[in-house]
């Protein structure tokens, strides 16, 4: 029983991450009609926002290490700690949450620049060419990050206060053995908030109304004399911000490296398509569904019945859903079907 609750939590947590990444992707699909293979790179850039903030905050004074005799080695002490003592240490400790505030404007800027500079010119081009250009862009972004930060993952710990595990078993009266990392609970909450915010934004603002209308029927909205172009730019910016935030918050769970975007790219496409093209709700439900199924498939009990099931579960579910529901969970007819 405890094992099941824990796997459910794992699944929700994974699902939150999948949903956040897929949300931006499907938004761009649905409104702009662009297959964005650089979306994973945006997720990665978000994570590197956290890395950058952390390294900015820990710019250090180098002191020669006398214990090493046969060459010159240096000890490092961050200036923040030298100047402000414990306050400095605390600020460094909170680098990841602090990065959120920086990541929002930066990712918005990157998103807008990408849309204005490149994506805009590909609205009417065939999907194949969108794939090639965004894939090229993803590689370029990746290589630039690699040349600054190297190929190795960079540790970006969460604040000390949420570093350990919460005994939610005790909190909920389920017994002592249900413990779960605080940061993962924070992540789950955070993804819920972001998903809710995006939905609320689309539901309750006039801007959101136009975007939703655009997802239904792009041409008509254009005919209404609404400046769709500028709204598209903003939509792309929002997608970039959501992906970026997913990246920032994921950094303590998965130490960021330059290639992490590619690792998530295929998965996020599967999530979006299983959810149904152009459906935000579909993407979110598919994200959680796949996350939970993946967690349960990894249980030893399940693996002993079907060996290797945890390796293929996501794809297997994708195949089953696409064969039983032609347009995924909530897809609409005619979107990206040709």
């Amino acid at each position: 029983m405890d094992a099941i609750i824990l796997q459910l939590l794992n699944g929700l947590d994974k699902g939150g991450a999948y949903a956040l990444i897929a949300l931006g992707l499907t938004l761009v699909f649905g409104t702009l009609g662009v297959v964005n293979f650089a979306h994973g790179a945006l997720f990665m850039l978000g994570a590197f926002c956290a890395v950058s903030i952390q390294s900015l905050l820990t710019i250090s004074k180098q002191v020669k290490d006398e214990s090493i005799t046969f060459f010159d080695a240096y000890k490092e002490q961050p200036y923040l700690e030298i100047w402000w003592g414990d306050t400095g240490t605390a600020i460094i400790d909170w680098a990841v949450p602090l990065s959120i505030f920086l990541a929002i404007p930066i990712m918005l800027l990157i998103g807008v620049a990408m849309e204005r500079g490149l994506i805009r010119h590909f609205y009417k081009r065939p999907h194949a060419e969108q794939i090639l250009v965004t894939f090229g862009l993803a590689i370029v972004i990746q290589e630039i990050v690699k040349s600054f930060f190297g190929a190795n993952p960079i540790p970006t710990p969460s604040p000390e206060i949420v570093a350990g595990s919460a005994n939610i078993g005790l909190l909920l009266g389920l017994g002592e053995s249900v413990v779960y990392p605080w940061w993962r609970l924070v992540y789950l909450l955070f993804s819920g908030i972001v998903i809710f915010a995006v939905f609320a934004f689309l539901q309750f603002t006039t801007f959101g109304m136009v975007v939703r209308a655009g997802m239904q029927d792009r041409e008509t909205v254009g005919l209404l004399g609404i400046n769709v172009e500028r709204r598209f730019t903003v939509v792309f910016g929002i997608a970039a911000v959501v992906a970026g935030l997913a990246g920032v918050m994921y950094a303590p769970i998965l130490p960021p490296d330059y290639h992490m975007g590619m690792d998530f790219l295929v998965l996020s496409f599967v999530v979006v398509v299983v959810g149904g093209m152009g459906s935000l709700g579909g993407a979110v439900s598919a994200g959680f569904l796949l996350g939970i199924l993946q967690s349960f498939a990894s249980m030893t009990e399940v693996k002993s019945i079907i060996p290797g099931i945890d390796q293929i579960i996501i794809y297997l579910v994708a195949v089953v859903i696409l064969l039983t529901r032609p347009r995924g969970l909530m897809g609409r007819k005619g979107v990206m079907e040709d």
């Binding site: 999907h127 090229g136 295929v266 079907e337 040709d338």
Partner: protein
């Protein structure tokens, strides 16, 4: 339009054959004339030509085509292990097995179109890759890859002598240049088949499906079998390419089936020019050249290359260009993808078409142009 076209096709074949067979000569100046790279050009050429029959003609974007490549390779190595080191059974079985898998995957995936089709093919390929890498290790030898060993059965060959046997075509070893010429022959045959398909009524119907599938149904065609046949043909091409990989280098690894490998052939085809006969081959040439030659350049090599410059300039040029070679070859490839698709929608073939148009215009000469403009008035 009929008779000149036929003569034209034979001319295309003749030029193509000569170009492929003399590749070791004309690729020498750019350092791409060593056997392994030549073999890779030919093998991936077959792969891309086959992919183009599906994607270029019908518009169905398979994102899991590498699975057939992998299956072809595994089958070929098993043929070496169980039957004989002769390459002919390997080629036949590899191609057929590619076809069998294509029938299975195609039959299911073609129930959907557009991106749903792409994701279905991707899902099948990723499942195959993940299983081959781990659970199916008894068949695939997992991460290490399936290799031939001393104690394989090889029932048609009898006991081996000292050391591992090589792949042969009735005694002719299939490594080095002989391996290339074998692959080249296959490439020429594959190109010929592709050319015939492009020019045939069948090909026209496939193009019509790409252009407007709904209309095809009301025109009296059952489009599903057409798509399945195209899918299977391109799967068999991939199987053939896979078996040739195993023939020139008898090791088959699971990563051949990973999505990145499927993505590579997509990129090759789009980069060269989707739906054109030669385009995919150009895409193959560019990507494989970057992967093998650009990745191998290092600063020492660059200094040699730019030695004619004054020292200070040489240093700057080397510093800048070294970001793009060696470990930076991915960056160059990414930039290239973007440039090509931004400036040449339609790929490299589009660039060639534009260039020839410009040249033709120039060669027309000013008088003719003047005459034309007068005529317009």
């Amino acid at each position: 339009m009929s008779i000149p076209a036929i003569r034209n096709d034979w001319a295309v074949m003749a030029i193509f054959t000569v170009a492929v067979l003399t590749a070791p000569l004309w690729l020498a100046p750019i350092g791409a004339n060593y056997p392994d790279l030549l073999q890779k050009f030919a093998i991936f050429g077959i792969f891309a030509i086959g992919f183009n029959i599906l994607f270029g003609l019908t518009g169905y974007l398979s994102f899991g085509h590498a699975v057939f490549l992998g299956v072809g390779s595994y089958t070929a190595v098993w043929s070496f292990k169980l039957l004989t080191m002769n390459v002919l059974p390997a080629v036949v079985f590899g191609t057929l097995m590619g076809g069998v898998f294509a029938v299975l995957i195609g039959y299911v995936s073609l129930r959907r179109s557009g991106i749903y089709f792409s994701i279905l093919t991707l899902a099948f390929a990723q499942m195959s890759y993940n299983l081959a890498y781990s659970v199916l290790t008894p068949i695939t030898n997992g991460e290490t890859g399936l290799q031939i060993t001393m104690n394989d059965a090889r029932i048609l060959d009898g006991p081996v002598g000292d050391g591992l046997p090589s792949t042969t075509l009735f005694g002719l070893e299939m490594s080095g240049y002989s391996g290339f010429y074998f692959c080249a022959t296959m490439l020429i045959i594959a190109f010929f088949i592709s050319l015939r398909i492009f020019r045939s009524p069948f090909g026209l119907k496939l193009k019509a499906i790409k252009s407007n599938q709904t209309r095809m149904k009301y025109t009296g065609f059952n489009t599903r079998p057409y798509l399945l046949v195209a899918f299977v043909i391109s799967g068999m091409f991939a199987g053939l390419a896979g078996s040739l990989m195993a023939i020139t280098d008898p090791l088959a690894g699971a990563e051949r089936m990973q999505w990145t490998a499927s993505g590579e052939v997509v990129l090759m085809t789009i980069l060269g020019g989707t739906g054109t006969l030669i385009g995919p081959l150009l895409g193959v040439g560019i990507i494989k050249y970057f992967e093998n030659i650009f990745s191998a350049l290092n600063e020492a090599g660059l200094h040699e290359f730019f030695a004619f410059m004054p020292d200070w300039l040489e240093n700057i040029v080397v510093a800048v260009s070294s970001e793009f070679v060696g470990e930076g070859w991915h960056l160059t490839l990414g930039v290239l993808f973007m440039l090509v698709v931004i400036f040449l929608p339609g790929g490299v073939m589009e660039g060639i078409r534009r260039t020839t148009a410009v040249v033709r215009n120039l060669s027309k000469g000013p008088e003719k142009k003047a005459a034309e403009s007068v005529g317009k008035e």
